[in-house]
Symmetry: C2
Subunit: 126 residues, 2 copies
């Protein structure tokens, strides 16, 4: 299914469509927050809503479905009185933790530098 792009292999990691598509699915607006919660403990739907107060129900549902489809989280329906649904991170989901951590560490470490760059840019506009 991936069209063979001409062999302009740059020796390093190339960004393919599949990469881009995957990152869009698992690194989107709310996924990291959800993953962060589920890495610590299984959560029910409303647990997640409380943990991430700014997410809407619709977006949370969509995020969870997407993550579930990609095998990152698991959904279990507990047939109790008022239905309970528990979300858990999968083993595959746990493997995301390291790359995400590295990313966030980078972001945290370089935030000041980046803010200075923004100020300089916005100020002078070259």
């Amino acid at each position: 299914m991936p069209e063979t792009d001409d062999a302009r292999a740059s020796g390093e990691l190339r960004i393919e469509n599949a990469h881009r598509e995957l990152l869009d699915q698992v690194l989107d607006k709310w996924s990291l927050s959800v993953l962060n919660e589920l890495c610590e403990r299984p959560c029910r739907f409303n647990d997640l809503r409380r943990a991430i107060p700014t997410v809407t129900q619709k977006s949370l549902t969509a995020t969870l479905r997407r993550l579930e489809r990609n095998g990152i989280v698991e959904r279990e329906v507990v047939s109790s009185r008022p239905v309970a649904v528990e979300y858990r991170i999968t083993p595959l989901g746990k493997t995301m933790r390291r790359p995400v951590d590295v990313l966030l560490e980078w972001a945290t470490a370089h935030m000041p530098e980046i803010e200075r760059a923004r100020d300089a840019f916005d100020d002078g506009l070259d």
Copy 2:
């Protein structure tokens, strides 16, 4: 590396607004492709267009401006005959390489597993 998967102790990976905002700026649709090119060599505008054939001029301009504002790439105007503009990666930009590589390595390594998960999900729809 170390286990003790005590999530609380190990990863203070809280997602803050600033994190989210930054990732949106530097991990957007085209940034990784641009970074990938500029990591290898300085490029002129049309070099980048050729290297990333699917990007439109408008999106490429926007991407470059965004990366420049965040201090990730540098823009130099060479006052030659028809104006030449060279884009280069900055030292700050180079520090992005490792987190991005880790991310792409993860994506590459787990792609098959993820595709199986997608197929299973789309098939059964549980």
